[in-house]
């Protein structure tokens, strides 16, 4: 049994003890602890060198947007101030793969969310190609290769279905741009999935947390091989997805509701469903979700790990730090260089090397591999052409472009003749509006 003591000064206190058997015993115990601590340090380093971390969620791209308007030429990603993430600290923290979120604000829903998402994807792609320490990856094999090549792998994840503007073609094009995971909601409902947050009073529904179109989105994600991420979704949506998805799903940055009863966390019943689904919960390190207070420490975080392990097993757990997406982190876990301190605490709590190898990377790899297998099994399925019913999208920015007459004016002619196209659009809009009024 390992005894790891993190307080070096106890050694000094031990040396000043009285000349007694107790002093000698204490000295021996302390020296033993120190040696074990040093070898424990090298154990963590060794462990994390063999199994370097795959982290489920980081919002550096959002910080680049807010602070620098995506001007990468203004920053040096080796060392960044005012944020918790940069290349130096990734290396110190043994982070080998980071899923970077291309989050855009919920306020962009019904406006320019699609364009903003493209810009966030663009900044992550540029970041991961302009720095030779990074490598953009889009498959399990590429991820594994990047480790062998000594690179930090970048995965791209969308955070919130509002980014696709209820469009399966947009989802497919995001996949083609390298997106490999999508959170179905952020803190706003979409027309087809429900958020755990009531902050934005949009798309409120009763008993329809994942609509038929929402199910089609999940099916298309399964077909493409895009990981379904349930962080930020309501529990009803999560449950519906866990029933419907053919592939394992993840919570990319959520913790245990039983330890901290925040609606962003995952209750036991959903954890049990996740276990059946063979999915993954990647524990969020943000204080509010760890201790339900403004402050927390490593022990609080480790409690989440212990609890989830007891309920559904260590093979269901990963880490999704949520750095840059939140402002307060536990003492000792202030930035991405500090992950080893968490692993050290888990070692102290008798987590085995195998379990920690799973938490650090193997569990995520297993899930990602299974998602790819499901994609391969569905390879004969055609791309879905389902379109969200217009009244469900309920988006004033959405134009109807259908035309009743196959021989009506087309692109070049409309440039000369002023009447045809605008008149048809007005007609279509009037018809659509009259339908809405009839429904109401």
């Amino acid at each position: 049994m390992r005894v790891l003591r993190s307080d070096m000064s106890s050694w000094k206190r031990g040396k000043r003890a009285s000349h007694s058997f107790w002093k000698q015993s204490i000295e021996a115990l302390v020296v033993f602890s120190l040696c074990v601590k040093i070898s424990g340090c090298s154990d963590v380093d060794e462990l994390m060198s063999t199994y370097p971390l795959i982290d489920g969620h980081n919002d550096l791209a959002l910080q680049l947007r807010i602070r620098h308007n995506n001007c990468l030429s203004q920053v040096d990603l080796h060392n960044l101030s005012k944020v918790s993430t940069d290349i130096s600290r990734f290396k110190a923290g043994h982070v080998q793969t980071q899923m970077f979120a291309v989050y855009v604000l919920c306020g962009a829903q019904q406006k320019d969310a699609v364009r903003l998402t493209l810009e966030q994807i663009d900044v992550v792609r540029r970041m991961c190609t302009e720095y030779q320490e990074f490598e953009l990856v889009t498959s399990v094999q590429e991820l594994k290769d990047s480790k062998d090549n000594g690179k930090i792998a970048c995965l791209i994840s969308i955070e919130g279905g509002h980014s696709i503007d209820s469009s399966l073609p947009a989802l497919r094009m995001f996949y083609q741009l390298g997106v490999r995971s999508m959170g179905l909601t952020h803190s706003c409902n979409t027309p087809w999935a429900e958020s755990s947050s009531n902050f934005y009073p949009v798309y409120k529904r009763e008993n329809n947390s994942l609509t038929s179109f929402g199910k089609v989105v999940v099916e298309e994600m399964n077909r493409l091989g895009m990981i379904v991420d349930l962080s930020h979704t309501s529990w009803n949506t999560s449950s519906a997805v866990l029933s419907h998805s053919k592939a394992p799903v993840i919570f990319s940055h959520s913790s245990s509701y039983s330890i901290c009863n925040h609606s962003r966390n995952v209750p036991d019943n959903l954890l049990l469903e996740l276990k059946k689904n063979q999915g993954l919960i990647m524990v969020n390190l943000h204080n509010t979700f760890v201790s339900c207070r403004d402050e927390a420490n490593i022990s609080h975080v480790a409690d989440h790990f212990d609890y989830i392990r007891k309920l559904i097993g260590a093979e269901s757990i990963g880490i999704g730090g949520d750095y840059e997406g939140a402002t307060s982190f536990p003492h000792g876990l202030e930035d991405v260089s500090k992950y080893p301190a968490l692993i050290q605490e888990l070692l102290r709590r008798n987590w085995t090397e195998n379990e920690l190898a799973g938490v650090l990377r193997n569990n995520f790899l297993r899930v990602f591999e299974q998602v790819e297998r499901v994609r391969d099994q569905l390879s004969s399925k055609l791309p879905s052409e389902v379109q969200i019913p217009f009244e469900e999208a309920h988006n004033p920015c959405r134009l109807i472009l259908k035309r009743p007459d196959p021989r009506s004016p087309s692109s070049d002619q409309s440039s000369g003749a002023e009447g045809g196209l605008p008149a048809l659009l007005i007609l279509a809009t009037v018809l659509m509006l009259s339908r809405i009024f009839l429904i109401e």
Binding site: N69, N70, C71, L72, S73, D112, V114, R115, L118, E119, Q120, I121, D122, V123, R125, R126, D165, S167, P169, A170, R172, M173, Q176, L177, L382, P383, E385, Q387, N395, C397, R398, L399, L401, K402, R403, P406, R407, S408, P409, S410, S411, D412, Q413, S414, S415, G416, L421, P422, L425
Partner: protein, 346 residues
Amino acid sequence: MSETPLIDGHNDLPWQLLSQFNNQLNKVDLNTLANTHTNIPKIKDGRLGAQFWAAYVPCDTQYKDAVRQTLEQIDVIHRMCQKYPEIFMFATSSQDILDAFKMNKTASLIGVEGGHSLDSSLGTLRTMYQLGVRYLTLTHSCNTPWVDNWLVDTGSEPSEHKGLSSFGKQVIAEMNRLGMLIDLAHVSEEVMNQVLTLSKAPVIFSHSSAYTICPHKRNVPDDVLRRVNETKGIVMVNFYNDYVTCSNTASLSDVADHFDHIKKVAGADIIGFGGDYDGVPRVPEGLEDVSKVPNLVAELLKRGWTDEEVKAALGNNLLRVMSEVEKVRNKCTHARTQIHTHTQIT
């Protein structure tokens, strides 16, 4: 036509798929599609070696959902190629076009028709390039916040930028850096001249004809034709009656007149085919659909065009332009990207 692929600069079949079928490609059979200029048997009869399919969305989507709609058109082109892999080969380079030709497939490329599809975002431009888009027509028939369209020259719309705004110039520079062809069909004459000065790579007109033959503001005046020759670009002749004869009717011979004129004024090295099939309601007698284009080739030969000149017009000119654009991209590989994400115009 067996030695050189016929490369056509602009076809609006994707727009027909949207407007007639709501992009429900699973319910359409391109082998038997009846009421379009383009279907698979016609493509085969017309010996179409390569096609730039237009990812077009109307100007009414500007400031609304243009970006999403454009992604949907890009998606339908990809799906069309996936659905008929024995006919279409998705292509993004001059080499791809040659490879497809060797395999007797129609190389399928994407051109986005109208800068409004970018929502003034270089990030969007770059990601669309990543999705395979290889030309951008700077405008359709509306000004964008950074460039003026051809309607300005008719007097029916005011000029907003006297050509390109300073952001517009950054778009040009970024297109050169990426290796995306700059398409000047639909732009104002001022834009044509500014881009011909600014661009480090040759430019294209994907579907425009000769102004001297038919003085329509969608066509290219002689002085611009000469500048295209100086910069080794290409003008791909549009078959739309209204741009061929400036009237409702036209014949194959009228189209050949445009070819002859451009050759006379600026040389055979800047000519190509840009039929605009399925984007227009009136096409010439003798060129009723894409299967008839070999008849135009025969007419050029009859008019004394040499084999070399015909092969240049069929495909070698476009291949030259594309290779040169790719070379400019390769030279720029180490340049930092322009990062502006918003136009400054209010």
